[in-house]
């Protein structure tokens, strides 16, 4: 297992570099540039040129890329074009809230979707199953922004028990209860979207396994139904479930852009949006780089989990 992990980590390096090259090209190919944001027609052209020179935008692309790579090797992403703050600092501030939001939602999603999915499969074609599949269908189809706005209307404006957005009460005392209150709505929206999709996967995967012969054998030798379902069946159903949950992590980071906008959650989703609109290349490159690392790390983590779930999986 260990040599496999080391090999995977080594392969990740050229992959990462490839990703940064692609990203760099895409970011720079997008029409418009940071200096074009000078819309004031009274800005003298010399100043616009001076700014381009200062930001290094007049260098050939390949030089710009190597300058960026050099900064990266020294452990930084450079300075933001808009706020001139170090990009590592900007992203550092934002990644915490996003991780908090997404990991809590993912954990809750897992804890809810897996048992319900199993139950739904075990009780296939019962009223419970119909209700759950119906609900998960609704939850999957409901757009997140719609659900988010609906919940804000209901709980923040109508009942006035939860805040409309933000991570903490600005100007208020910063305490744990306050943070939890702010988490409830965004976490609910993300969790509902996750369980909607995942229940269906878990259910389908379990149904496949439940039909297998070895389960009939297990039941025949008199094992308790609980053990049959949760030990023998679930373990075998886990592989496809791990895959879809693994795919969910990068999706969550992207998908939270909408949620972060609606709930003014100060995470990297919001930051990404802002830096795209202001063509803040260094921040964008930093964000892309981190996203790439997260995706690669998730893939590796999933492979390890396969092994944990099913020792028959061999990595050579």
């Amino acid at each position: 297992m260990l040599p496999y992990i080391v090999r995977r980590l080594l392969i990740a390096i050229p992959v990462l570099i490839g990703i940064t090259i692609l990203n760099f090209c895409i970011v720079n190919l997008a029409p418009g540039n940071p200096v074009d944001m000078f819309i004031d027609p009274n800005t003298p052209q010399q100043l616009v040129e001076a700014k381009k020179e200062m930001l290094g935008l007049n260098d050939p692309l390949i030089i710009q890329y190597f300058k960026w790579l050099w900064q990266l090797l020294q452990g930084g992403f450079g300075y933001s074009f808009s706020s001139f703050a170090p990009v590592t600092h900007i992203i550092g501030e934002r990644i915490g809230p996003t991780l908090m939001l997404t990991s809590i939602s993912l954990t809750l999603g897992l804890l809810i979707a897996i048992p319900i999915g199993i139950l739904s499969a075990v009780k296939q074609n019962t009223r419970f199953d119909y209700i759950i599949t119906g609900l998960s269908f609704i939850w999957t189809s409901m757009p997140q922004f719609f659900l988010g706005l609906g919940l804000i209307y209901l709980f923040a404006l109508h009942f006035k028990i939860l805040p409309t957005g933000g991570m903490l009460t600005i100007g208020g005392d910063d305490n744990f209860a306050d943070r939890i209150k702010h988490l409830i709505l965004p976490v609910s929206v993300l969790t509902i979207a996750i369980i909607g999709k995942k229940i269906r996967y878990v259910r389908a995967s379990m149904l496949d396994v439940l039909k297998q012969d070895y389960l009939r054998t297990a039941r025949a030798k008199g094992l308790h139904a609980f053990i049959v379902t949760n030990k023998h069946a679930l373990r075998n159903a886990l592989i496809p479930i791990i895959t879809v949950f693994g795919m969910e992590i990068p999706l969550l980071l992207g998908g939270s852009i909408i949620i972060e906008q609606i709930f003014q959650w100060p995470g990297i989703g919001q930051l990404t949006m802002q830096s795209i609109l202001s063509r803040d290349y260094p921040t964008l490159m930093g964000l892309n780089f981190i996203a790439a690392i997260i995706v690669l790390a998730t893939n590796l983590f999933m492979d390890i989990l396969y092994f944990v779930a099913d020792p028959r999986v061999k990595y050579n």
Binding site: P31, D40, P41, S83, G96, M100, I104, I262
Partner: protein, 551 residues
């Protein structure tokens, strides 16, 4: 299964821990600001036990920078900078100058301006504000190696871009007389109001005693600008979390009347939440121009019992710009003007909260050409004009619209329908602003629509139409207009300038390189708890030390 559960619980635990650790960071910064308050008098202590007076202002775009000499034209940054920085003068909503750091600005020949500073003026750390700070700020901001938004190219000794020429360190037009007095000489005589606006109200200052040792090339990335605790203003910087909020607390060492409020918070939130948070009293007012309340919420907000709603003075209009190299005939441009149903846009889309004007100068501006006879909505006349010019109805005309401002996008949709109705084959294309500007600058458009800034100085509305201006993306070229623009810039008598600018606006109205579509009267929502203070297009914070709220 157990192992997975364990991993999940572990991650959750780590994340909650990290959330807690960020809280401790915050209290650290709070502690660092408290020592200054230890020597408060008993009276202040008693006052401090009362509930602090806090006003929260809603804006929709986050400030990007707190650099007072380089706000990068970002209105949100300018908003928060205005709370913690005073300039020499300030402007009221009715275009009157009020003294701030400067006690007086005088000139006998409209070329040499003598500025006397308020002798009590001091930074919020009690260091005196002197002419040395003025000189330091100008030399820093106008250093060719420093990027800044200080634009005073009219001052003698600066090059055309308004920078100190390479190899020099002094500005010949700036003469320091004593600690409280300095003189500024302009290249040619100018209207004193230009000086008062550009030099008096647009420049914020850097504290020399804090920044004197900084290498100008590294100025922008200096930590001071991430954390500008020392400034000169009624409030001082306390906290800033980009995309979340900006917080400023009362400056106890203010040189004018000390502010009545304890704290001002500027909250960043989506436009759709402005009304919700006004309703729940999470914010007490919106801000202009970056906290615009969507006009679709007009009815809702009018009926809120805790909010007073007013309309602002007319703002800078959304203008339809013509690429004159593509749509060459003024008659065609006039036909477009007759074809557009602006009354419908104002009545239906803006619920009447907008003015119809033809030029870029807003209706309440001192230099608005009152005699202009506006283009009416007359589709028949439009068709007739198009026929006279043999307009090819198959010809595709591209209209570039910046995305983001929903009302402007909807207005653009309406005007596209209007133009199609008279036989113009318009194709609408929406882009984000940066992309749009890229296309417009390279001439890759027929029509575009956007808003320019609000200028007090009238010449700034017109330089766009100057043929030798590199930023003239319209490629408009009219020698008569060029001559009048140059004349207007050098004329110092306001009455004569008015004549020149009326004439200019009349020519542009006939030639029509640009047509204003609507000039919005922005909604100003203020909580009934607020005793003093409201959003405004101009000089929003000129009396911020007088702002007050019921407890």
């Amino acid at each position: 299964m157990k192992r997975m559960l364990f991993i999940n619980l572990l991650t959750m635990f780590v994340i909650i821990l990290s959330a807690c650790s960020s809280t401790t960071n915050k209290s650290d910064t709070q502690q660092s600001t408290t020592p200054e308050k230890t020597d408060t008098t008993i009276a202040e202590k008693i006052e401090a036990t009362a509930k602090p007076k806090v006003v929260s202002i809603g804006i929709v775009n986050s400030p990007t920078t707190l650099n007072q000499i380089n706000h990068q034209g970002d209105s949100a940054s300018q908003t928060v900078l205005g709370i913690i920085n005073d300039s020499l003068l300030d402007l009221t909503e009715s275009f009157e100058f009020v003294p701030k750091i400067a006690e007086s600005i005088e000139s006998t020949d409209n070329q040499t301006f003598t500025v006397k500073l308020n002798p009590n003026a001091k930074w919020n750390d009690n260091a005196p504000f002197t002419t040395a700070d003025v000189a330091f700020t100008l030399k820093t901001a106008l250093n060719p190696k420093v990027e800044s938004t200080v634009r005073i190219a009219f001052v003698e000794g600066l090059d055309d871009a308004g920078k100190i020429p390479a190899g020099q360190t002094e500005i010949s037009g700036l003469k320091i007389i004593d600690k409280q007095t300095f003189e500024v000489k302009s290249k040619t005589p100018i209207d004193p109001n230009i000086f008062k606006e550009k030099f008096g109200t647009n420049i914020n200052f850097l504290p020399e005693h804090i920044l004197k040792d900084i290498n100008p090339e590294q100025l922008a990335t200096d930590p001071y600008f991430q954390n500008p605790t020392v400034t000169i203003g009624a409030f001082k910087y306390s906290k800033f979390a980009k995309d979340q909020y900006f917080e400023a607390v009362r400056n106890e060492n203010y040189y004018l009347d000390i502010a009545k409020l304890d704290k001002i918070i500027v909250k960043v939130l989506p436009a759709t939440n402005l009304v919700a948070q006004l309703q729940t009293n999470e914010i007490q007012l919106n801000s202009l121009p970056v906290g615009l309340i969507p006009i679709t919420d007009y009815e809702t907000i009018k009926n809120l019992p805790n909010i007073n709603l007013t309309s602002s003075t007319p703002s800078e209009p959304a203008e339809l710009f013509f690429n004159v190299t593509k749509i060459t005939d003024p008659k065609v441009r006039q036909a477009f003007a007759y074809a557009i149903n602006r009354p419908l846009i104002v009545d239906q889309l803006f619920k009447g909260q907008a003015d119809i004007i033809d030029g870029g100068v807003p209706i309440n501006h001192p230099y608005y050409a009152k005699e202009t006879k506006l283009y009416t909505y007359d589709p028949e006349k439009a068709k007739q004009l198009l026929q006279e010019t043999n307009w090819d109805s198959q010809r595709e005309v591209s209209l570039l619209v910046p995305s983001g401002n929903k009302l402007r996008e909807q207005a653009a949709d309406i005007l596209v329908q209007n133009l199609i109705a008279v036989g113009v084959n318009v194709k609408i294309q929406k882009f984000d602003f940066s992309t749009l500007i890229g296309k417009v600058d390279s001439g890759d458009y027929d029509l575009t629509i956007f808003n320019r800034d609000y200028y007090f100085e009238p010449s700034l509305y017109l330089t766009l139409f100057q043929s030798n201006n590199e930023n003239n993306f319209l490629k408009y070229n009219n020698p008569q207009v060029d001559a009048l623009i140059a004349q207007g810039e050098t004329e110092t008598d306001p009455a004569k300038r008015l004549v020149i600018y009326n004439q200019l606006q009349a020519i542009l109205h006939e030639d029509l390189p640009a047509l204003a579509i609507y000039s919005e009267k922005r909604l100003q929502a203020v909580s009934k708890d607020i005793i003093e203070g409201k959003p405004a297009n101009v000089g929003q914070f000129n009396n911020i030390n007088k702002w007050d709220i019921k407890q």
